[in-house]
């Protein structure tokens, strides 16, 4: 479980997160929705210990990110909004191997896991390709492969469908859904597109750094969405 307790985060003089309390259960599909600048990405970066709370704490499997950043990073994968900037190496298989090498795996195991991940995402034929020659949809899959290969229990997707065409949007959403339903990974989807809520079973609505709703998708009303500035 990922939990935030009385979480505050201050960036320079701005209080970006204010008294955030939440629980994300294992195997759930949680969408975090809110207008631009509502603090969604800032909140998500706390799950992976990329940001550490100014006040309060974030727990990943009951271990505080303040005490153990590595635990958070091993367990929580993060697919960034701008996936182009998430890809570190120029050759696809080398990039997917990056996280696995950091985990200290032997070369044989690294190659096996890279192969398995690329096959699972149906991009094995791209293994030797130069990243700069790939389409946006393919780059998104490579960024995703780099995270999935590390086998995290929780995966945060930060607006994964931005910059993608309809076909690639559908493909990536199907993959995210399969990761949750078939592989039982916990998904945290950061979005400002209401349509992306389709696959989620829990929703967190944010406004100006605070949570204004947290619960089952069925309980979400138009009134809340209007209050968050997501509905006319």
């Amino acid at each position: 479980m990922i939990a935030a307790k009385r979480l505050y985060f201050k960036y320079e003089d701005d209080l970006v997160l204010k008294n955030v309390n939440l629980e994300i259960m294992k195997n759930s599909f949680t969408a975090v929705i809110g207008a631009n600048g509502s603090g969604k990405t800032t909140l998500a970066k706390h799950f992976n210990a990329l940001l550490i709370p100014t006040k309060g704490e974030v727990l990943v499997d009951e271990i505080s990110t303040k005490k153990d950043e590595l635990n958070a990073r091993k367990n929580v994968g993060f697919v960034f909004q701008n996936f182009e900037e998430q890809i570190i190496h120029s050759i696809v298989e080398d990039d997917v191997a990056f996280g696995l090498e950091n985990l200290g795996f032997e070369e044989i195991r690294v190659r096996m896991l890279v192969d398995e991940t690329l096959s699972r995402l149906k991009i094995r034929h791209l293994a030797k390709q130069n990243v700069n020659a790939l389409s946006q949809g393919q780059k998104q899959l490579v960024a995703l492969a780099g995270v999935i290969a590390m086998n995290p229990k929780y995966i945060v997707f930060d607006e994964p469908t931005t910059n993608l065409d309809e076909k690639n949007k559908k493909n990536i959403m199907k993959i995210i859904n399969d990761l949750n339903r078939k592989e039982k990974r916990t998904i945290i989807l950061i979005t400002n597109v209401l349509d992306d809520l389709r696959h989620a079973n829990n929703v967190i609505v944010m406004k100006k750094g605070s949570i204004i709703f947290s619960g089952r998708k069925s309980e979400l009303s138009d009134k809340i969405l209007r209050a968050a500035g997501l509905h006319d």
Binding site: E85, I88, S90, E101, L103
Partner: protein
């Protein structure tokens, strides 16, 4: 623009040189570079040049590729030669020898990059630098920095082109210093933002300079033979 900047782009020709371990090639290039400037007598330079051309043939590199890749250096060579002709005609032979040495150096480097992929080179550099770890040299940092530079160089050019076009569409004039400055500042700002995102992405995937990558790189029979031949050549020339 990117195409104009390439030197010795890798081509998979499946030659003996292609099949050598990248570390072997780097070691041989280092020995040959030192040897090139140690060779003084005409006989030594002749042996050295014959060896380089032998490796050139083994690498299955086309003469056209060689001429094309050396093209950017012709101007420098002609200029230097002219300087010798005008200012020190009595040392013309020495000048020609130096130019010949530089050409040899370029050809050696060209063969290295023509027969080795960049990821292979980076892995080899990381591997070769490992003994320097006690001297606080972090081979992984150097390897990742090289890799990131290679990865983002085309991105930089694409961004430059896009920003330039966006400015041109709003009537920018690149004869004006102010507009060039603006282009550079915008580009720098974008690259700094990218660098920040990249560092986040690296931390998210547990980047740690102290983790030793366990890459399997094994010297084969041909690697030992190649190094032995180069060492033998060194003995002959010395």
């Amino acid at each position: 623009m990117i195409r104009r900047l390439t030197f010795g782009q890798y081509k998979n020709k499946g030659s003996v040189i292609h099949s050598l371990d990248a570390r072997t090639k780097i070691i041989c290039v280092i020995i040959l570079s030192i040897l090139l400037f140690a060779a003084k007598a005409k006989f030594e330079i002749l042996i050295f040049s014959s060896f380089v051309f032998f490796v050139f043939i083994l690498s299955k590199m086309m003469l056209y590729d060689l001429v094309k890749n050396l093209r950017p250096f012709y101007f420098i060579f002609i200029f230097l030669l002219l300087m010798y002709v005008i200012f020190s005609r009595n040392q013309l032979l020495l000048g020609v020898t130096y130019l010949w040495r530089y050409s040899m150096l370029l050809i050696i480097t060209l063969i290295l990059t023509y027969t080795t992929t960049i990821p292979e080179l980076i892995k080899a550099i990381e591997n070769l630098l490992k003994p320097l770890k006690p001297l606080k040299v972090e081979p992984r940092n150097i390897a990742v920095a090289l890799s990131v530079a290679v990865r983002f160089m085309p991105v930089l050019f694409i961004r430059l082109e896009k920003t330039r076009e966006a400015m041109l569409s709003r009537l920018a004039n690149f004869r004006k210093i102010m507009h060039i400055k603006m282009l550079v500042v915008i580009l720098l700002e974008k690259m700094l933002k990218s660098a920040s995102s990249l560092s986040d992405a690296m931390y998210a995937r547990i980047y740690n300079e102290n983790v030793e990558t366990k890459r399997l790189m094994r010297f084969k029979k041909n690697d030992y033979i190649s190094i032995l031949i180069v060492v033998l050549l060194a003995f002959i020339i010395y």
